[in-house]
C-alpha cells in the first residue's frame, strides 16, 4: 500500500499539523518509504494469533476514586500560553 498526495493532506489534517503545499511531495516519499519497509509484515502468518494488549501479564492496578492532589490550580495553569483567572484561553471555537 502507498499514499497519494490527497491522503498525505488528509493525514496531516487528522494529525492537526499544517503542511504547506510544497512539503506534500517530500512527505509522501518519506511516508511511502516507511510503508514499504513495514510491508514485509504481510508475509507473517498471524492466523489465530491474539494481538498483544499488555507486554507483561498484570492485572490493572486500581485506586480509590479520591482527590490525591487537589487545590493546585496555580500549578496546572503555570505553563499555559494564555490564561485568565485559572482558565485556559483559546481562540474562538463557536461563531
Amino acid at each position: 500500500m502507498s499514499v497519494d498526495a490527497v491522503t498525505v493532506r488528509r493525514i496531516a489534517h487528522l494529525a492537526r499539523i499544517a503542511v504547506a503545499e510544497d512539503e506534500v511531495d517530500h512527505l509522501q516519499g518519506e511516508l511511502n518509504a516507511m510503508l514499504a519497509f513495514v510491508a514485509q509484515l504481510e508475509e507473517v502468518d498471524v492466523a489465530g494469533v491474539e494481538p498483544m494488549t499488555s507486554v507483561t501479564p498484570m492485572a490493572m492496578k486500581k485506586r480509590h476514586d479520591v482527590v490525591t492532589a487537589g487545590g493546585i490550580a496555580d500549578d496546572i495553569v503555570h505553563n499555559a500560553p494564555a490564561t485568565d483567572d485559572h482558565f485556559f484561553l483559546v481562540p474562538k471555537v463557536v461563531e
Binding site: 493525514i11 511516508l31 510503508l35 507473517v44 494481538p51 507486554v55 503555570h78 474562538k92
Partner: protein
Amino acid sequence: MSELTSLTLAAARDGLRSKEFSAVELADAHLLAMEKARALNAYVLETPERALAMAKAADARIALGKAGPLEGIPLAVKDLFCTEAVRTTACSHILDNFVPTYDSTVTAQLWRDGAVLLGKTNNDEFAMGSSNETSYFGPVTSPWRRKGSNTRLTPGGSSGGSAAAVAAHLCLGATGTDTGGSIRQPAAFTGTVGIKPTYGRVSRWGIVAFASSLDQAGPFTRTVRDAAILLRSMAGPDDKDTTCADVPVPDYEAAVGRSVKGLRIGVPKEYRLEGMPAEIEKIWEQGRAWLKAAGAELVEVSLPHTKYALPAYYIVAPAEASSNLARYDGVRYGLREPGGDIREMYEKTRAAGFGAEVRRRIMIGTYVLSAGYYDAYYLRAQKVRTLIKRDFEQVFDAGVHAILTPATPSAAFGLGEKGGADPVEMYLNDIFTVTVNMAGLPGIAVPAGLDGQGLPLGLQLIGRPFDEETLFATAEVIEQAAGRFTPKPWW
C-alpha cells in the same frame, strides 16, 4: 579530567562516606569539567546553583551519619524526565519554555537517595532518533573519535547526551529512556554501560511519553556495578503508574560478582546478519568465549520472528506516539502559534513546534490507526508482537537464563552520515535492541572492545522478565574480561 571526575560511582560513594572529599568538591569538579566540554553539546541545561545547594545538603547529611544510597553523587538527567522548577523540553521546540511544577518518580527517588543534579542532557526530539541529530538544540558530538581523524561522530541516540556525559566524565551516572534501543545503542557507541529494565520495573510517571507500551527508563554508568547501584534507586512500585509492577527491587549490587557457572546463555542464530561487519561477529565470538571460560554453557537458540520486530515497531511506536503527542496543542503548556480559529491555532502550533522526524512519525501513526487501515497495519503489528514475545518465552522455557547478542550492527557513525535520503537507513541501527522492547524484557549493553578505528563496540545481554540480576552478574564477567574504555580528551 581531574581525579574526582574519573572515579566510579561506587568509589565516589565510598570516598564521600569516609570523608576523603566532600560532595561540594565532587560537584565542583564536575561543573568545571562540564564548562570545558560545552563543545560536545551533551547538556542542554546546566544547573550549577542547584548542584551546589544539593551537594551542600548532602554533605550535611553525611556529617550527621544519615547518608542515603546515592548521597552526594552528581548525576545528569535526560531532558525527558520532568524536574521540578528545572526546564524540561524533550529537546523539542514545542516544549522549550516548559518548567514542570513536579518531579518524575524516577528523579524524585534519586533526590530521595541523596543524588545531586548537574543538569539536563540532550536527546533526540521526544526520543525519536538513533543519533541525537533530531534534537532542537542540535546534535551531541561523541567524545570518541576515529584514530587519526577529526570527524565528528554521533554518541548514538536517543539518549546521546547522557551517554556522552558519562563517557566524557561529565557526571558519574545519568538517566536515559529506551523505547527501541535509546539506552543500549548509545551505551554501545560510547563504551558505557546501559540497561533497559523489564517493562514495569521503573515508573514512567513524569517522563515525557513517546510510546507508552515500550518506554522504560534506565541508567548509564561507566561500570556494571555502578549501573546496579543506580537502577536500584530508580526502580520500584509506584501508584502513579498503573503499568509499574508491584514487585520488590532486589539489591542489584549484590548480583555483581555472582558466579555465572552453570548458566545457560542463548546465542540466537537470527542475529547473524548478512553483511554484518566482521568486527561485530568477532566481538560476539569473543563474548561467547569469555562467558564459556567463566563456566557458562553456550547454546544456539532460534528467535524466528526477529526480522519482523523492526517493521512491527515502526507501526506500534508511531501509533502510540501520535496519540501521546496529541496533548501538545498550544493550550495547556508549551508553544502556541496564533491562528484565526482554534483549529488553525492547533495546526500552526504543531507544524512550528515539532521537527521533521516527529511530524513524520505522528503522521505515520495517525495513518496506521485511521479508519480502514487499523486492521491491516496496527492490529497485524500487535499480532506479530505476540509472536516476537512468544519466541523469547520458548527459549527461556527451554532453560536458557540469558541471551547474548551484539548491541549494534556497527560502531558509531559520523554526524550527517545516515538517514538523509531514507529514514529507514537510520532505523536499522536498532535492529538488535528493538526486539527486547517489543517483548518487554530487560537488556543491558556492556562495552566489549574497540574496533580497528579505535571505536567502542558493545555486547547485549537479554534476560528473563524481572531478572535484571542475571544480566548484572553476566555483564560483570564481560567487563572483567574486556576491561573499561575511556576516550582521550580532545575537547
